[in-house]
Amino acid sequence: MASAASPGDEGGASGGGSDKAEPGTSADNSSTGAFECNICLDTAKDAVVSMCGHLFCWPCLHQWLETRPNRQLCPVCKAGISKDKVIPLYGRGSTNQQDPRDKIPPRPQGQRSEPETNTNFPGFGFADAGFQMSFGIGAFPFGFFASTFTNGNNLNTGRPPAPAPGTPQFQEDQFLNKIFLWVAMLFIFWLLIA
């Protein structure tokens, strides 16, 4: 669209100062050119910069990303690009300029990573948790099998004897046995799936 304006400028300066007009325009270009959006070629509004270093208006870039959602490439260098890999640029005083853009989602937030502190605790804690986890999984089924096996064959003398058949206690025992068996099967099934 700026090309429509440029012939008018030249016409105005055509009185013999055409040589003067050219340096003027080139100076304009050099001062603003570094911050032009690569898509609309105007000075970037709501500027964002890609990881590959290319500057865009966020509305322009967003529209481009929407145009090809399954193939998001940087318009300039065709590097991979995406919404969350784009960094907003905040100039001084630019936060006051807020124009409500209904369709366009807000610019992605800047990410601030905390400075690194050297503490040894996190690594140690992770190792500990891993150890406990593996131990629990390994130990539980074996203990369970052992107890059911010994109970079924009545070899365990340390425990109270199994209740006589027919009594309500016997039925309860059978019921509990079944429940535990099902729980164990579910657990093993879960282990296999996971």
Partner: protein, 138 residues
Amino acid sequence: MALLKDPPSGVEIDMNKISSNLSEWIVDVTGAAGTNYEGETFQLQFKFGPRYPFDSPQVLFIGSNIPVHPHVYSNGHICLSILTDDWSPALSVQSVCLSIVSMLSSCKEKKRPPDNAFYVKTCSKNPKKTRWWYHGKF
């Protein structure tokens, strides 16, 4: 669009103001020196749709002299990936012209595409509606 004002017209591009209501441009392109097309002049027609920077312009050779090239059909349609699939909104008229001149320049042998006769008979008027298969390095 402002990129093609006047200064940076690079190698061999000059604007004809004839049909420029800004949605339709005609650009004269000259074959690069030292190539098969040296000294020849071609006319390229650019048509910009309403979604222009995000959608590629329709570009084809027009006029009496259509280059004989394995990627250019005799009706002026150009098989060039940046005109459809690989279009990028950062491409300008200048860079498209440069790509086309470069495509012409890298040609070893002046001949039409192998399926020229069939394509010209069956194709749509708009080259962007063609489902191009890109073989070459362009």
